[in-house]
C-alpha cells in the first residue's frame, strides 16, 4: 500500500533539496546550502524551524572541516542537511535517538552526495567532449547549452538524492527511534562531542599557520567558556 501522505511530503523536500544542492557549486553559491541554513529551511518546511536549526548547528560544526577548496572532492551538505533537518523536525519533542539518527542520516547522505557530484562532473566532461568541435568553432549555442544542461542535471541530482534518501531513511529512523535504548543525555552528548571535536580539529587546520591566530583562539575560548558557564 502506497503511503500518499509520505509521497506528497517528498515533493517540496525534493524541490528544496534540488535548489540547495544546486547552490553547493553550480548556482549561485550564496551558501544557502550550508547546514545551518539548509537544515533550518527543511525544519521550517515540516513546521519545526527551531528543530532544524538545532541539528543544522551540529552539522555546521562538522561541515567546517569540509570547505570547497579548488577541485578537491568534498561532501555535499545542501541536500543532506535537508534530509537530516526534515527527519529531526518530525520529532518536535526530541526523543533520545532522534538527533543522533538524523545526524547519521545527514552524514550518510552527504557522503553519497559527494559521490554524485563527482559523477556529475564526469558527465559534464563527457557532454563537453561531445561538443568539442562546436566549442572549438566558438558556437554560442553549445557554450550556453552546456552550462544550462549542467545546472539542470545538478538540480535533478540534488532533488533525486533528497527524495531517495528521505524516502529510505525517514522510515528507518522512525523504527530506530522506537527501539533506541541509550539515555537521552548520553545520546545528545555523543553528537555534541563529535561535532565540536571535528570543529576544533577543523579550526586548527585552518588557522594554525596564521601568525598569532592561536592566541586569538585561546582568548576566544576563554570568553566562550566564561559565557557558557554564566548561562
Amino acid at each position: 500500500m502506497i503511503d500518499w501522505a509520505h509521497f506528497v511530503e517528498l515533493i517540496p523536500l525534493g524541490l528544496l533539496g534540488g535548489v540547495l544542492g544546486l547552490d553547493v557549486v553550480s548556482f549561485p553559491q550564496a551558501m544557502i546550502s550550508r547546514p545551518l541554513v539548509a537544515s533550518t529551511m527543511a525544519g521550517a518546511l515540516i513546521g519545526e524551524a527551531p528543530s532544524g536549526l538545532l541539528l543544522g548547528a551540529a552539522l555546521e560544526l562538522i561541515a567546517l572541516e569540509t570547505l570547497p577548496f579548488g577541485a578537491s572532492r568534498y561532501p555535499e551538505w545542501g541536500s543532506a542537511s535537508v534530509v537530516g533537518g526534515a527527519i529531526f523536525a518530525t520529532y518536535p519533542s526530541h526523543p533520545a535517538g532522534s538527533m543522533p539518527l538524523a545526524a547519521l542520516a545527514a552524514l550518510a547522505t552527504t557522503w553519497v552526495g559527494g559521490w554524485t557530484m563527482v559523477k556529475l562532473r564526469q558527465r559534464n566532461a563527457v557532454w563537453a567532449g561531445r561538443k568539442r568541435e562546436a566549442l572549438e568553432a566558438g558556437a554560442r549555442g553549445s557554450v550556453v547549452s552546456l552550462q544550462l544542461r549542467g545546472m539542470t542535471a545538478d538540480f535533478i541530482r540534488g532533488a533525486g538524492l533528497t527524495v531517495i534518501a528521505y524516502a529510505l531513511l525517514a522510515p528507518l529512523a522512525a523504527k530506530c527511534v522506537k527501539l533506541w535504548s541509550a539515555d537521552a543525555r548520553i545520546s545528545r552528548c555523543v553528537i555534541v562531542a563529535l561535532a565540536a571535536s571535528v570543529a576544533g580539529g577543523a579550526a586548527w587546520k585552518l588557522f594554525h599557520s596564521t601568525a598569532g591566530a592561536r592566541w586569538f583562539f585561546v582568548g576566544g575560548l576563554g570568553v566562550g567558556l566564561f559565557m557558557l558557564f554564566l548561562r
Binding site: A44, A57, V143, V144, C176, V192, A193, G200
Partner: protein, 254 residues
C-alpha cells in the same frame, strides 16, 4: 591605472555578465574546469564586437575564452572583466592566451584563502555564536546569509569592475590590501570566533546532556587532538559517520 581610456560597458551587458557569473560553475568538469563558464560569462560582452554575434571575431573569441581555466569562482569575475576588456580592445590572441594562463594560479589561491579559509568560516562561526547565545532561527540564518553574501557579492562586483577597468594590466589590482592582508586578518578574527562559538553552540545543542558538560568538554579536547593527529589519514566527518553509526547500532540493538 587603466590600460587605456576605459570604454563604457552598457549597464545591460554588465548586468548580464554579473548574473551569469553566479552560474559560472554550472558546467564545471575535471577537464576544462571553469573554462566553459568563462566563455558563458563573457559572451554578452563579445556581442559588442564589430559584426556582433555572427562575426568570425565573435566565434574566435568565444572559442578562446571557453578553453581550460581555473580560478576561485568569486574571483573569476576579475578574469571575466579583464578578458572581456582585452577582447573588445582587440588585443592579440596569443597575448590573451598568455594572460589567461598567468591569471589562473593567483585567482585560485587568493580566493581560497580569503573566502573558503577565511570569510566563510568566520561568518559561519559568528552565526554559531549567535545561535549559542539563544538567537531564534530567523535571526541566525538571516545574519549568516546577510553577512556572508555582503562579502560575496561585493567581491564579485569589485572583481568585474576591476577587471574591466584594468584589462590585461589587472595584476596590479590584485595587490589590493584586502586581497594581500585580508586572509591573515580574517583568519585571526575567525580563530577568535571559533574560540567563542564552539563552547556556546555546544552549550545550546547539548540540551538534556548539560549535566554532563564537564565530561563533554574533556571529550571534545581529546577528540579534537585525535582529529588533528589523524590529519591526512581520515577526515573528521567520516570518523563521525563511523562512530555515530556504531553508537546508533549499539543503542538500537542493545
Amino acid at each position: 591605472m587603466p590600460a587605456t581610456e576605459r570604454p563604457a560597458l552598457p549597464f545591460r551587458t554588465r548586468l548580464g555578465i554579473f548574473v551569469r557569473l553566479l552560474a559560472i560553475q554550472g558546467a564545471w568538469n575535471y577537464e576544462t574546469l571553469l573554462g566553459n563558464g568563462i566563455g558563458f560569462c563573457i559572451e554578452p560582452a563579445l556581442r559588442l564586437l564589430p559584426g556582433g554575434r555572427h562575426s568570425p571575431e565573435f566565434h574566435a573569441a568565444l572559442a578562446r575564452e571557453s578553453r581550460y581555466f581555473n580560478a576561485h569562482p568569486y574571483l573569476a569575475s576579475v578574469a571575466v572583466g579583464a578578458l572581456a576588456r582585452a577582447e573588445l580592445d582587440g588585443e592579440p590572441p596569443e597575448r590573451i592566451e598568455r594572460f589567461r594562463t598567468a591569471l589562473c594560479g593567483p585567482l585560485g589561491s587568493v580566493g581560497d584563502r580569503l573566502i573558503w579559509a577565511g570569510w566563510l568560516p568566520f561568518c559561519s562561526l559568528l552565526s554559531l555564536a549567535l545561535f549559542g547565545l539563544g538567537a531564534r532561527a530567523l535571526a541566525v540564518v538571516g545574519f549568516f546569509l546577510l553577512a556572508y553574501n555582503a562579502g560575496h557579492f561585493a567581491l564579485r562586483v569589485w572583481g568585474l569592475n576591476t577587471g574591466w577597468s584594468h584589462g590585461l594590466r589587472v595584476a596590479s589590482a590584485l595587490g589590493n590590501p584586502v586581497l594581500r592582508r585580508g586572509p591573515q586578518q580574517i583568519g585571526r578574527l575567525a580563530a577568535l570566533a571559533t574560540g567563542i562559538a564552539i563552547p556556546l553552540a555546544l552549550g545550546r545543542i547539548i540540551g538534556p546532556g548539560r549535566s554532563l558538560l564537564g565530561l563533554v568538554l574533556v571529550a571534545v579536547a581529546l577528540g579534537a587532538t585525535v582529529i588533528v593527529r589523524l590529519q591526512g589519514r581520515i577526515e573528521g566527518w567520516r570518523l563521525s559517520l563511523v562512530l555515530l553509526a556504531a553508537f546508533s547500532l549499539f543503542a538500537v540493538l542493545r
